[in-house]
Structure formats: structure tokens, C-alpha cells
């Protein structure tokens, strides 16, 4: 096939795919345009999840008829006056949004410049531009997008349910509303009551008020103010208390210079700041506003402009973690940290988690050399194990085990920790955490292998949800059935639970379903159902699991070490804590200042 230049219309449609992925992205672009135009009030109207109609009306600067005609052209923008991509102060700058929307929908813009006495209108249909003609409108701009994706039916197939799309579009407006408390927003969507966020003052107080408007008063009672500054970069906002956490990260509102972003550096910093305060599957609620010299951050990473690249990500990360920890009251505790803390901090960097697993698996464990220290041990074992006896349980070294990754068990301390010796260091194992992990992995394998038995419910349970969540869950019904949970759609906004995993016993279907919905709202969340099943399973086999406070014979210790080597993810217990810590001889030497 000969190479040929694509037509303008086709180019626009292709580009549109990146800018307007779904109605919510169109809404975001248009509201950003209104904000860039200096609007004080913005009204957003949605119909049919935004696919049928999006109408955004603002009282901003408006456009001249000539600008209007140009605005719908590709790469036409008024926002890069000096051809300088380095210091972007507006939300838009690519000159892509309007032509992209125009390429895949029927776009009508009516606008009247401040001070002008007439309004003008333009229509772009599937990329075909109609001439500008006179119209009637007060000062400002009204953008109407009808039949989104009518020109690219393939995209239409990817639309979620109407309610889900409405929800996402509203979410986009809420994010922008958070960043601009000084602008009034009204959201009108078919199936819900209109919402108005009144204009607030453009200061900290106004911001707090707007946060309460958007995120609910609950957050304010359950959050602390965040304030931080480092090398000209500032962060303000609210940090939810750990007890106010959510099952997904949708309630993390992050802004860079007023631009809502989903950025890995920022998300990672938030996670790190809360790491010791929250379980791995909980997510904090935060609203954080970062102020930074526009030259220090590149917003031109992706057409949707939700990703940013910081020139100095380490600085941002450090600032955020510090500010959050200070706010959450960790700062004061940290100052009292002792030498032991430092040792742990030091050793933590060397926990085996990353190395655990595959490299060791498959290497056959050498036959255990019987006989060592058995005499002394066994003599006392008959006397059971008084837990008050905290004497170290010392074992002579089994030389042939020194080469194993987790070495040869040498002692048990406090009936909780196993000390093992390797050729070039020592290993400290938390026996309970380690065994828990092993049991967990075994159960997981068993569940994978045997499947999960399902108890049918006498009366199917109806669980009311957000329509969005219900749709998401029903979409995953097949996966859930594999985990023993059989559900069906029930009306628009509920699911019907027919069968539950038998091992959960009598379980509260409603709370299980809500938890699942919370998680499914997020992309990559692993299923909490699976976790619950495993939690139940591991607590059931608890009697088979070695707890802290139990004396272990040398054979048992070594067996545990060998089993850890053979277990996937053995470096961390189910709660994400390390199961063992490795100190290399050089680390120990460093600790004592020998190196």
C-alpha cells in the first residue's frame, strides 16, 4: 500500500483519541478552558452520561469571531504567547482540546467577548467546520458537545454505563472545583439534584470551605492541615487521619499549580508517608496543593495533561513526606529516635523481600543432618515450655547449612526470633510472621488448586450500591464466581448475591459487596474477597501455625528457614512487614564504625 498523507479530519480523529478518552475528559478540557478564560461562574450540564450532551457555560473573556474560527483549528491556542513551553501558567496550552472534540462530536460554541455587542457561533461536526455566524448570548462562552464519539463508533463501545460516565465527569469537575475555590461551579446532571459550589475567597480559608463543600464536612473533622515549604516549593492542604482511610485511592486529590494530576511521584510520597500508619490495602484521603515554579515542572507529558514531570522528584517526595508526617504527628516522635531505630532503619534497607523467592526455589534442600544438640533440647522439651523463660535457645552450627540463603539456625531469642548464621552475615527471623506467610501461601495454592466451595443462600441478598459500583461489580461477576461469590445485576443500582464462599461461614454479604465495590472502582486493586478468604483460611489453620512465644527445636528452626526459602514472597508477612532481616558482616562493621 502506498504511503499517503492522512487527511486533516483523520489526523484530528486520531489525536482526539488521546485527548478525549471519555466524556469526563471532554468535560475536564472545557472547564479548564473556561477557567483559563477567567470565568467567575461555570455551569456544567450533562445528559446521557455526557455522550448525549455536555454543555459548559462560563462568564469568562469570550472570543472574537476570528479567534472563534481559529480556536477549533488544530494547534491554535492563545495561551503560549511567547512560544515558551517552560513556564506554563494556564491549564491549557496545546491548542488541541477543541479540535479534538470537534473531530469526534457535534461541537457548537457560542461566545461573546467582554465589551462586544454581539455574539458569534460556530459548529464543527465530526471534524467538518461550518462558517461562523451571528448568535445571541450574554458575555462569556457556551460550549455544547452533542453525540460524543458519533464519528468514531469504535470508541463508543468503550463507554461504561451512563451513570458511570456521569460519575466520572462530575468527578473531573469536582477536582477542578477544589483547585479554584474562587470560582462558582454548578453541576446539572439528569439523574441527580443539581449541585452548586458557591464562590469562596481565594485564600486558605476559602480553600478549606471549598474542600468541605466538595469532600464533605466529615473530612474536615477527620483531617489535619498540611503545610510545608522547601526550596521554593510549597504544599498545603488536608491529610486524612489514618482512621479515616478508604479502600481505594480515589479520594486522593493532588494538584500541581492548580492542575489536578495523578502523578506517581506524588502518589508514592503519600503512600510512603502513611506506610507505617495504614494497612497495605487502605488508602488515605488527602487533598494536597503543590505550588512550584512552572519552570521546575513539565506538564507536557501526556495529551491529557494529568501527568507531570518534576525536575527534582526527590525534592518533591521529601517535602511531601515530611509535611505529611509532621501533620500527622509523626515528626515529634521521630526526633526521639534512638540508636536502635537507626539500626532498624539501616537493616530494613537490607530486608530480604526483594531477593526472596524464585532464586531459591527449586534448589533442593539438603537432607537434614540429624543429631546436633538434640540431647540437651529433648531433655527439656518434655517439661513443656515456660514462656517466662527468656533464655536464648542456643544451637551449635550445622556447617553444611551456612551456604543456604537463610543460613543455619543458631539460636532462638525471646521464643520469638530465630537467629541464623550465613557465610557472610546473620539473619534475624520473626518466626510468627514467617510462618504466617508460609501458611498463607500454602492456602493460596490450595484455593487455586481446589477452587472454592459455594454455599447457596436461602434468600438471595440484595445489596444497594452506587449504580456505578453495581455495574463494575457485575462486569466482574465471572471472576467473583471463581472466588465463590455469585452475583447478578438487580435493577440499576443493586446487586443480588446468590451464593457465597462456604468457608466464610455466615457472612455479611452487604459489607463484603461494598468492600469489593470500593476496590473495583480502582484499576489495579487486588480483590479484597480473595484476601478475606485467605484471612479466614489462615486463621482457621492458626492452630497449625507457629506463634511467637513457642520454643522451637533446632530441627524446627532449620525447617522453617528452608521452607521460607522455598516460599514465594517469604520476605514479607501478609501485612507487609518483613519476616526477616539480614545483616551482612560489612553492615555490622559499619554499625560499629569499623568501616
Amino acid at each position: 500500500m502506498p504511503v499517503r498523507q492522512l487527511s486533516e479530519i483523520l489526523i484530528n480523529r486520531i489525536a482526539a483519541g488521546e485527548v478525549v478518552e471519555r466524556p469526563a475528559s471532554a468535560v475536564k478540557e472545557l472547564v479548564e478552558n473556561a477557567l483559563d478564560a477567567g470565568a467567575r461562574r461555570i455551569e456544567v450540564v450533562l445528559s446521557g452520561g455526557g455522550s448525549r450532551l455536555i454543555r459548559i457555560t462560563d462568564d469568562g473573556a469570550g472570543m472574537s469571531p476570528a479567534d472563534l474560527s481559529l480556536a477549533v483549528e488544530r494547534h491554535a491556542t492563545s495561551k503560549l504567547a511567547d512560544e515558551n513551553l517552560e513556564s506554563i501558567a494556564t491549564l491549557g496550552f496545546r491548542g488541541e482540546a477543541l479540535p479534538s472534540i470537534g473531530a469526534v462530536a457535534r461541537l457548537t460554541i457560542v461566545t461573546r467577548m467582554k465589551g462586544a455587542d454581539s455574539a458569534w457561533e460556530i459548529l464543527v461536526e465530526g471534524g467538518k467546520k461550518h462558517p461562523v455566524k451571528p448568535a445571541a448570548l450574554g458575555e462569556g462562552t457556551r460550549v455544547e458537545v452533542r453525540d460524543l464519539f458519533f464519528a468514531t463508533p469504535a470508541r463508543m463501545k468503550f463507554m461504561k454505563t451512563e451513570r458511570a460516565e456521569t460519575q466520572a465527569a462530575i468527578e473531573a469537575v469536582r477536582r477542578l472545583a477544589l483547585s479554584r475555590p474562587d470560582v462558582a461551579f454548578t453541576i446539572v446532571a439528569e439523574d441527580r439534584a443539581p449541585v452548586t459550589y458557591a464562590a469562596r475567597t481565594d485564600d486558605n480559608e476559602g480553600r478549606l470551605a471549598r474542600m468541605a463543600d466538595v469532600l464533605g464536612g466529615e473530612l474536615r473533622e477527620n483531617a489535619v492541615a498540611v503545610q510545608g515549604e522547601r526550596e521554593g516549593v510549597g504544599v498545603t492542604g488536608l491529610a486524612g487521619l489514618p482512621t479515616f482511610s478508604k479502600a481505594n485511592s480515589l479520594s486522593q486529590y493532588l494538584f500541581v499549580n492548580g492542575r489536578p494530576v495523578r502523578d506517581k511521584v506524588l502518589i508514592g510520597a503519600v503512600r510512603a508517608a502513611y506506610a507505617d500508619l495504614l494497612h497495605g490495602d487502605r488508602h488515605p484521603v488527602v487533598a494536597l496543593f503543590i505550588r512550584i515554579d512552572p519552570r521546575e515542572v513539565d506538564v507536557n507529558v501526556h495529551p491529557a495533561k494529568t501527568e507531570v514531570r518534576f525536575r527534582d522528584p526527590g525534592l518533591i517526595r521529601g517535602l511531601l513526606i515530611r509535611a505529611l508526617k509532621d501533620a500527622l504527628g509523626e515528626g515529634s516522635m521521630r526526633s526521639s529516635s534512638t540508636g536502635a531505630d537507626r539500626l532498624v532503619a539501616f537493616a530494613r534497607r537490607h530486608v530480604g523481600g526483594a531477593r526472596a523467592g524464585s532464586t531459591w526455589r527449586g534448589s533442593a534442600a539438603p537432607a537434614f543432618a540429624p543429631g546436633f544438640a538434640e540431647e540437651t533440647q529433648q531433655a527439656f522439651d518434655a517439661l513443656a515450655s515456660p514462656s517466662t523463660d527468656a533464655r536464648a535457645n542456643v544451637v551449635p552450627v550445622a556447617a553444611e547449612l551456612l551456604d543456604r540463603p537463610l543460613g543455619a539456625a543458631r539460636a532462638q531469642l525471646h521464643e520469638t526470633y530465630i537467629v541464623a548464621q550465613t557465610r557472610d552475615g546473620l539473619i534475624l527471623v520473626d518466626q510468627h510472621a514467617a510462618h504466617e506467610r508460609i501458611v498463607y501461601e500454602k492456602l493460596k495454592a490450595a484455593l487455586d488448586r481446589d477452587g472454592i466451595r459455594r454455599q447457596i443462600l436461602l434468600v438471595p441478598a440484595v445489596v444497594e450500591l452506587d449504580a456505578n459500583d453495581a455495574a463494575n461489580l457485575v462486569e466482574r461477576a465471572d471472576d467473583l464466581a471463581k472466588l465463590g461469590l455469585v452475583i447478578e445485576a438487580f435493577g440499576g443500582s443493586a446487586v443480588l448475591v446468590r451464593e457465597v464462599p462456604a468457608m466464610l461461614g455466615e457472612t455479611d454479604a452487604a459489607s463484603l459487596i461494598r468492600d469489593l465495590a470500593d476496590h473495583l472502582a480502582e484499576w489495579d486493586a487486588s480483590l479484597p474477597l480473595e484476601r478475606r478468604l485467605l484471612a479466614v483460611a489462615s486463621s482457621m489453620s492458626c492452630h497449625g501455625s507457629v506463634r511467637a512465644g513457642r520454643r522451637l527445636k533446632p530441627e524446627e528452626m532449620n525447617a522453617l528457614l528452608r521452607e521460607m526459602e522455598a516460599t514465594e514472597n517469604a520476605g514479607q508477612c501478609n501485612h507487609g512487614r518483613p519476616t526477616y532481616v539480614e545483616l551482612k558482616l560489612e553492615d555490622i562493621e559499619k554499625l560499629f564504625g569499623r568501616r
Binding site: A446, L447, R449, D450, I452, R453, R454, Q455, I456, L457, L458, V459, A461, E499, A502, M503, E506, T507, D508, A510, S511, A537, M540, S541
Partner: protein, 371 residues
Amino acid sequence: MKVTLERAELVKALAHVHRVVERRNTIPILANVLIRATKNGLELKATDLDLEIVETIPAEVKQASATTVPAHMFYDIVRKLPEGAQVELQSGSDKSALQVRAGRSRFTLQALPETDFPDLAAGELPHKFKVVAADLKRLVDKTQFAISTEETRYYLNGIYLHAVDEKNARLRAVATDGHRLAQAELPLPKGASGMPGVIVPRKTVAEIQRLIEDAGEEVEIELSPAKIRFSLGSVVLTSKLIDGTFPDYGRVIPTGNDKTLIVDKSDFAAAVDRVSTVSSERGRAVKLSLTSGKLTLSVTNPDSGSATEELEVDYGSEALDIGFNSRYLLDITNQLEGDKARLKLADPGSPTLLEDSEKSGTLYVLMPMRV
């Protein structure tokens, strides 16, 4: 107060009363038993704010008065007194302590003022009827095991007691936990007609089961939509009812199950119990494979092994494989009174009906498991 009474009487009454008292209490007086000496004897009363028990026992009252003392300790003391002892209770004028004397033993218990003791104001209890104690016991025993313990569906945390006012009117008890359902009934006692359907909480049910052993011939029941009172001989138990709507259970009782299996109850239970020995905690499923005249029970547990057992049964319908939670099956077979268990089945995904072979007024519904 000054009272003398038989240790045996006091032990028996305290044994009843002290059970209502929770071990851990944030309100100190709830740990106490109220002791009131009147001309009728000695009244002992305990409450957990949901449930109140009052027992009156004969005593020689020399001086009437009332006080409260720690229930568990009082019970432990009296229990350890020698058999046949006479116990003397005495409180001084300031009532800050109660002296317990028997033979040469002497205890002083700290008391809290009786005026602070909470009262479960029962209010008007307009519906009143009598039930033979043994009948009430059956009603409760046959259904109690199916009560749900899951707290979010609080309205299932009890036995639903209601009148079925049809042409042969009955008093019916129903309990379900969403996996199985148990129903038992009696001819409707005089006076019970028109009573509201009430949900009697699990703890109250358990108390009745215990108290009924010592009760006389008849139990008097009085109730309103909010409270219920059982008078069992010298004991009066008053309880709040669960404020909720019991689901329309009638819908889940199958009527068209046409495959009937009749099996010797004890053989069946023993076989289920045997094969489920190898079942894993993760499910406890037992599979019933039915062919003409034969039932094969089987359990497979990939972790430990498998088990099968065959039983000769009375079954003439088409072959069927169906799975159940073995514990649920055993719970139900344990309740059956006749020698035979009668199972009415439809298919592996629909409720199964279990009945006593005799005319017993009970029925059980069990939801299968997918195996």
C-alpha cells in the same frame, strides 16, 4: 435487712440469675444482683438492660429491705458454702455492705444502693397465654440452632414467634441464618390469637432453654410488640424483643420438591459424620449421590484424602447429585425425633426440605452447596 434461708434455695436461684449478668461491665451496678427481702420471701434480680430475670425464693425475713452486691462473687461464695447450711444475710443501717454468714464462715460484700438498680420497665403486656413447658421447650430446641449470629442482619438473631391464624391455628417458631431454616409449631394456645409476631433474641432463648429444665408444668407468656415475659414457676424472665422485621420466610419453603429420600436417621447422621472427618475446614462439603434405592455420601479433600459411604435408602426418583455443608446436615438430623429422615429434593441448586417422618410439626429447609 436480716434474712435467713436455705443454702440450697439460694444456690439454685443464683445459678439462674447470675447468668444474665455480663462478666465485663462498664456500668458497675450491672455486675450486681439485687436482693430484696419482703414478706413473700427473698427476691433476686439481675439485668443486662436487655434481659431481666427475677426469682423469688422462700426465706425467713426478720427485717425487710433491699441492696445489691456483685453477682458472680455472691454466687461463688454461696456455692462454696457447705451443703445443708443455713445462710444469713444482713445489711447494716448504712447499707454499704452485706454480711453473709453460714456456720463459721463470714463474708462482707460491698453493696451498691438498690435505688440505682436499673429496671426494665416492661410496660403494658396485653397478650397473655400459657404453654406447657415441654411444648415450649420443643419449640425453642428445634429452632434455636438455626439462629443467625451475624450482627448486621440483627433481625435474624432470634426466634420469630408468631401466631398462624388459619383454620387450625398454631403458634409457630422460625429461625434462619440465610443458609438454613428451622420451623416448629404447636396448636395455638388460648389467648395467643392476635398476638404480634415477635423476634425473641438469642440470649433470651438460651436462658429459657436453661430455666425450663427447672420450670413447672406450665409457662406463662405475656408480650407486647416490644417486650416479652416468661413466668416459669418462681422465675420471671422479661426481655426486650428485637426491633426488626423478620423476612417473609414462607417464600423459601419449597412446596414442589418431588424427589423424596427416606433414610434411617441415625445411619445417615453417623455416615455423614464419618465421611466428613476428611473434609477440610474450607467448606465441609459432603456430596450426596442418589440413585434408585442407594445413597452414596462422598467427601474429597485434596489436602488429606477422600471418603465414601453407601447407604440403602428409600429413593425412587431419577439420579441426583447434590452437596451440603455436613455440619448443617448434622445440625438438622440431630433435631429429628423419628427414626427416619425424609428429604424432599428438587435439584442441586434449590432448597431441600427435611422433615421428621412422624407428624412432628417441624420442618427444616437447607440450601445446598455447589460441589
